[in-house]
């Protein structure tokens, strides 16, 4: 058990016995060990340290070397043993040797807490974020929302490469249509609207009271009621401040889901997929509410709501049966159409047409060359 006393400082060859570092200097001390009721570490007969077996812990070491530390010694004091028999004897006496090293129970705890964290994040995403969006949206000042809208408008125009259409007769017809809807729905004239020369059949609302219609949708429309319904739907989004709410909702959800997945995916496709699952269910509710608003507005004008559904149907086709509706951001078109049909059945359309045939033709050709597109 005694170590060789001819240990030199340059220890390219391991010496039998033990080497001690006292934690105060890095001097290698060749020591003799004695296992009594505690571990006695002696250098040239002088007692350097006495370590109680229960306080001895294993430290990281290469294969074939036992490296020990002790709770009551200086934190970096180390004892290194290469002798296999001595190692076995010491290991047998030290009960808590591995107590501070990461072990199975530690890993189980990490897994357990991680899952708990994941569950709580999911719960916050499903319940907390919609609630926060609901409560925060009314608190956002109008001026801030308008600024957001300006930024978003600039981005949308770049994204869809769409120029605003301003054919004079068409613009007059469009303003007449929007004006009627606006007055009926009770908006002041701060609402900005326009038609963009883009072949995509779509329309949308932006924060701060902006409604945009794409020429692609105009090209597919067959009468003014169809377009009026769509615009009323977008005004519904404005009334409910849906884009602001959606912004808070999306921002919070992406942040939390990003937090959840950390670096494992490099914040890639998985985050996008799970986020779209969560946010689409939320946006379906918003769409249903906007539809309700559109139906009410159209009925106040004495016009049917169903044409809007028909236009939708023309654009999307039948949606049911193709995949699941879980990830769709809008309710199924046929369901929306059926709902509008049912709502119209209560009272026949009695109001005047919103636009004259001439005005309708002017609106259709507001983008000039846009007629032949799509």
């Amino acid at each position: 058990m005694d170590s060789g006393t001819s240990e030199t400082n340059s220890a390219a060859t391991p010496a039998p016995g033990a080497v001690f570092f006292d934690g105060a200097s890095n001097r290698r001390r060749a020591v003799a060990l004695k296992l009594s009721d505690a571990l006695e570490i002696r250098e040239d007969g002088a007692l350097l340290a006495r370590w109680a077996f229960a306080d001895i812990r294993r430290a990281d070491s290469p294969f074939g070397l036992l490296r020990l530390s002790c709770l009551t010694a200086p934190s970096l004091a180390r004892l290194e043993i290469r002798d296999a028999q001595l190692t076995a004897e010491l290991v047998a006496r030290c009960d808590a040797l591995e107590a501070d090293l990461p072990n199975r129970r530690g890993v189980a705890a990490i897994v357990g807490w991680s899952l708990a964290a994941a569950v709580s994040i999911v719960l916050v995403v499903l319940f907390g974020v919609p609630l926060a969006a609901e409560r925060l949206t009314p608190l956002v000042p109008d001026s801030f929302e308008r600024r957001l809208g300006d930024v978003a408008e600039a981005q949308v125009k770049v994204l869809f490469n769409g120029k605003p259409c301003s054919n004079a007769a068409g613009q007059a017809a469009f303003e007449k249509l929007v004006g009627k809807l606006r007055e009926t729905a009770g908006f002041d004239n701060s609402v900005q609207s326009g038609v963009l020369a883009t072949a995509v059949p779509n329309a949308f609302a932006l924060p701060g009271g902006k409604v945009f219609l794409f020429d692609g949708l105009l090209a597919k429309a067959e009468n003014p009621d169809e377009i009026a319904g769509v615009l009323a739907h977008e005004l519904g989004h404005l009334r409910h401040r849906d884009s602001m709410r959606e912004l808070i909702h999306n921002g919070g959800t992406s942040f939390l889901i990003g937090l959840l997945f950390g670096d494992i995916t490099g914040s890639g496709a998985l985050i996008f997929a799970s986020r779209s699952l969560v946010t689409s269910s939320y946006s379906r509710d918003a769409e249903t509410n906007a539809d309700t608003f559109a139906i009410e507005t159209m009925h106040k004008l004495g016009r049917p709501a169903k044409p809007m559904g028909e236009l939708m149907f023309r654009v999307t086709g039948k949606e049911g049966g193709k995949g699941l509706s879980l990830v769709a951001s809008h309710p199924l078109t046929e369901d929306r159409l059926a709902r509008m049909d049912k709502a119209d059945a209560a009272g026949p359309a009695s109001g005047q047409p919103l636009l004259s045939p001439a005005e309708w033709q002017a609106l259709k050709s507001i983008c000039g060359s846009g007629k032949g597109k799509v």
């Binding site: 340059s10 290469p62 294969f63 930024v151 494992i264």
Partner: protein, 386 residues
């Protein structure tokens, strides 16, 4: 023990006689064991949705540190995963309000005019450099050799400022100033690094780095142009950088030297590329298989499946693709860690020689532990570096 010949510290002494032979650094770790460690870690990362990364990083470092032998003794990594987790959480608590502020200021800046948001990018660059300094400080203070720890003084913010100003110079000179930037930053880092009471220093000169690597700077346009060429150029650059960096490191009278050849790392990078291609092909085959499978279950032909865009809405397909994507990401993680951490470490180490290790024979322990905030920032901001 009494006739030992260590050099006492303090007043300069004549060099010890005879001069001890230069000491190569050895690595004794088992590659299979490392692979098992990383593969198991990747699996646990999946189960814990990524949270296990703090403990995996710690285990990897423990393995690499404790199997590296310098003068017959292996260092020890005393950091723990929990410290990294706490560092990450604290960094998060600081970064979240900053991100929110960034968002609000960004809107204002965009509103005013385009390049107004540039200072914000600079701010995050500064933060990233701070993270690099503090992360190295954490790692160094968790490194123990012969019962004495390394430690670091200095200021992360001064370093970040230096790094940013040098960064501007590198951009202005189209990368030519890079060697001098690295030399200046490393001088700052090493001047504030200690092993016990032994102060570090860095003797690498920017000019030496430039002399070895200037031709790479000339070749850069080709490397950017041709993808076949890029791995060669990058591997050569990294090898030159490693060799220059290691050869400049000093702790007191202890001197490191590296004999790493320029071509030493090329094989490693090509192996990684080979694995990326192979795994990519497997993933692609899996995609095609899943699509056919789901389409046939759906009862529609492949053509209509794609034409109606039903494939984008099919839940089983999305789930299958998600699983495949995760497996792909995890396999990539394992490949990166085995080749670019373990194998790279071994290759660089095997070229390293320690001169005059006797000068570190009787070092007095000093220095305190640093917290893991820098590691947390580095994780949160996704900056690499050492």
């Amino acid at each position: 023990m009494n006739d030992m010949s260590w050099t006492p510290l303090g007043p300069p002494q004549p060099p010890p006689q005879p001069v001890p032979p230069p000491m190569p650094v050895a690595f004794s770790g088992n590659r299979k064991e490392f692979f098992r460690l990383v593969a198991r870690g990747a699996g646990l990362e999946l189960v814990t949705l990524g949270f296990y990364r703090f403990w995996l990083t710690t285990d990897i470092r423990r393995h690499l540190w404790s199997n590296t032998q310098i003068d017959g003794d292996a260092p020890e990594y005393t950091g723990r995963g929990k410290e990294l987790l706490i560092g990450f959480l604290v960094a998060l608590a600081i970064l979240v309000p900053i991100y929110l502020g960034y968002f609000l200021i960004g809107i204002e800046a965009e509103h005013l005019k385009a390049f107004a948001s540039l200072p914000l990018v600079a701010f995050f660059y500064l933060f990233g450099q701070f993270a690099i300094y503090r992360a190295r400080r954490y790692r160094l203070t968790r490194t123990v050799w012969r019962g004495v720890r390394f430690w670091m003084s200095g200021s992360g913010w001064i370093y970040a400022l230096k790094a940013s100003l040098w960064g501007v110079l590198v951009v202005i000179t189209l990368g030519l100033a890079l060697p001098w930037r690295e030399a200046a930053l490393e001088r700052y880092k090493m001047r504030h690094s200690y092993y016990g009471d032994l102060q570090g220093s860095f003797e690498g000169r920017g000019w030496e780095f430039f002399k070895r690597g200037w031709w790479l700077w000339l070749l850069m346009p080709f490397a950017l142009y041709s993808t076949i060429f890029a791995p060669f150029a990058y591997a050569a650059f990294k090898a030159i950088e490693w060799r220059w960096w290691l050869s400049g490191i000093r702790f007191g009278e202890v001197r490191l030297e590296s004999t790493l050849r320029r071509s030493a790392l090329i094989g490693l990078y090509w192996k990684v590329i080979g694995w990326v291609v192979l795994l990519g092909m497997v993933f692609a085959a899996y995609l095609v298989l899943c699509t056919f499978l789901v389409a046939s279950m759906d009862g529609s032909s492949i053509a209509t499946f794609f034409k109606t865009e039903a494939f984008a809405k099919s839940i089983p397909l999305i789930v299958l693709l998600g699983i495949g994507y995760l497996a792909y990401a995890l396999a990539m993680n394992v490949v990166m860690r085995v080749y670019l951490m373990r194998d790279l470490w071994v290759r660089v180490l095997s070229s390293t020689i320690v001169h005059n290790i006797e000068a570190a024979a009787n070092v007095t322990a000093r220095g305190d532990l640093a917290n893991a905030l820098g590691e947390g920032f580095a994780d949160g901001l996704d900056v690499g570096g050492f």
